[in-house]
Symmetry: C2
Subunit: 346 residues, 2 copies
């Protein structure tokens, strides 16, 4: 592989400079992505390996990131389980029949990822061929809790009323759903690795809406189950629970190679809390990419300095890149990491 | 005063049971509030002392809370500074000319709260008369950072693009705005106390969108300035920074009597981190009020048990009560606190 900085950093091996990629880097801030998107709807792009692999590779060539992440959506999994998914413009994803009862749960189908999610596996294989060893390819899945949130709410939510009511009033039903998703996500990640994904990130986008006790039970424990039972060869696993600053120590203990940090966490404190047994990924505020390139560089440097010397840091944003960010600013952020980080690895 | 449990708990004096109130308790979940709101728009209610004091008292009589909080809105302050405020149905507040430049900033007018915010002072006096000593009355203000966010964005925001860009690219301009707001908020709180508010809560609703370094500079330090210079007699001050779990120790050190906790914080860990020098307020997940009264009681008990024995706990939600909550569930939560808490004070 030409550039394996990302994989070495995940394993806390020494690197010449800090690798960098961005969550949602295959996305709307890129004119080249918008050009593809103008001709195809979002789900068609997810399900057409030629399109998915094309936009997966775009940020490697345009922005210069040190890893590619598969272009896909976490909700293709519930769709493969039999739920009807639509993407409503400016409103986000919608499931027409959310999971609210034991009957709804029984209608979910077991997923063989190699069959129902064949398009993901083909996109991975195609992206690997297109990358041709330039940088590693990351696969991903939503966490069981995050998937369950969408499936029970029927889409995005402000108050997560339905799943939280289920959690308190029908915990056994929610546990069944989470168990089913835990098994499904594990097999989905294994299939991605078998198809060529060289690392896996688990996105726990909604872990942070829970109080610590329920977070542990419904979000963290299922991810522990996945990480500790997954057949993953030498592929590192990254766990990213947004908004779960209160549980960093617990997250670091579930056996993932890398813990993702959102921007509300001080990466120096996180490193001293967690120690050097786990690599850290993050954590520039995504809105900072709206600032001038000079000030983006200052903030990049601030995070590099806070992490400090030595291996085990993958630079990233603290959440997905925002659609309105000028692409030159994203390029400038990546260049700043490349230019400012070598001194921390001498 | 008939019931001074809230004030005693703020001062960490012994109480027979834990006092409870709810953020946004004068709000849409109450049919009696909706009846008033059906006849008057939101800002008219804020600016008509008879109406504001009426809805301020409603939850005391209907829900049985141990404190009243003035019905008002944090954005009456920027409006008094000369900004044009509208409340757009289902969209929230809007300022037609947000603050984006030094010129915009210069147009803001100094506020004499006794004059431009006379309606707040009159509502406080009227609510005090209506309460007639049954429970204490809490006044409040937005924090300088939270007010600045609305003023610069022109309303609510997902990515806070404008204020974060200003923070990085024009920090001196943002500092000027924050300084002006710090002085204004201090005098606004002092005027509320002079008019009869028996405690003050500072709502730092948007503190949690900042990384720790900028949080300290732009959100926490201005609140420290306010708390340490405010003439407040014996009125306790509560500081509530939503989403700032990472900074609890620092928040506890700014000199407020009470630190508000959102529901993502474990109140037991917070107490052991902060110690017994400061009272804690919180922190039931507001969405839990959608669950059955039996399960609400379980969760209430869980929080009481986590806080443990002794004084210094004011029970509250971890954020405002949600508009769709059945009023019986709110009543049931309050009753649960009243019935379950005495054993922790024996």
């Amino acid at each position: 592989m030409t550039n394996d900085l990302f994989l070495r950093a995940c394993r806390r091996q020494s690197v010449e400079r800090t690798p960098v990629w961005m969550m949602r880097q295959a996305g709307r801030y890129l004119p080249e992505y918008r050009a593809v998107r103008a001709r195809h709807d979002f789900l068609t792009m997810c399900k057409t390996p030629e399109l998915a692999s094309e936009v997966t590779i775009q940020p490697v060539e345009i922005v210069g990131v040190d890893a590619a992440i598969l272009f896909s959506d976490i909700l293709v999994v519930p769709e493969a389980m039999g739920m009807h998914l639509t993407m409503v413009e400016a409103q986000g994803p919608r499931f027409s029949s959310p999971i609210r009862s034991a009957g709804d749960l029984r209608e979910l189908k077991p997923v063989d990822p190699e069959r129902q999610l064949r398009f993901v596996m083909d996109a991975i294989a195609m992206a690997r061929r297109g990358l041709n060893g330039r940088v590693p390819l990351i696969g991903f899945s939503g966490s069981p809790w995050t998937l369950a949130s969408y499936m029970v709410e029927g889409g995005g939510s402000k108050d997560f009323r339905n799943i939280k009511t289920m959690m308190l009033d029908e915990p056994a039903l929610l546990e069944q759903l989470i168990d089913l998703l835990t098994e499904t996500v594990r097999r989905y990640c294994e299939a991605q690795i078998a198809s060529g994904a060289q690392a896996i990130q688990i996105f726990d986008t909604w872990g942070g809406i829970l109080d610590p006790e329920h977070y542990r039970k419904f979000s963290l424990d299922p991810m522990f189950e996945i990480v500790s039972t997954m057949q993953r060869g030498d592929a590192p696993v990254i766990v990213f629970s947004k908004g779960a600053a209160h549980a960093l120590g617990d997250i670091a203990a579930i056996g993932a190679d890398v813990v993702g940090l959102d921007w509300t966490v001080d990466i120096a404190s996180a490193r001293s809390l967690i120690g050097d047994g786990v690599a850290l990924q993050g954590n520039l505020d995504p809105s900072f990419l709206y600032a001038s390139p000079e000030n983006i560089r200052k903030e990049v440097r601030s995070i590099l300095r806070k992490f400090g010397r030595g291996p085990g840091h993958i630079f990233n944003l603290g959440h997905g890149i925002l659609p309105g960010v000028p692409v030159e600013h994203a390029i400038s952020m990546v260049r700043s990491v490349h230019e400012e980080s070598p001194e921390f690895h001498r």
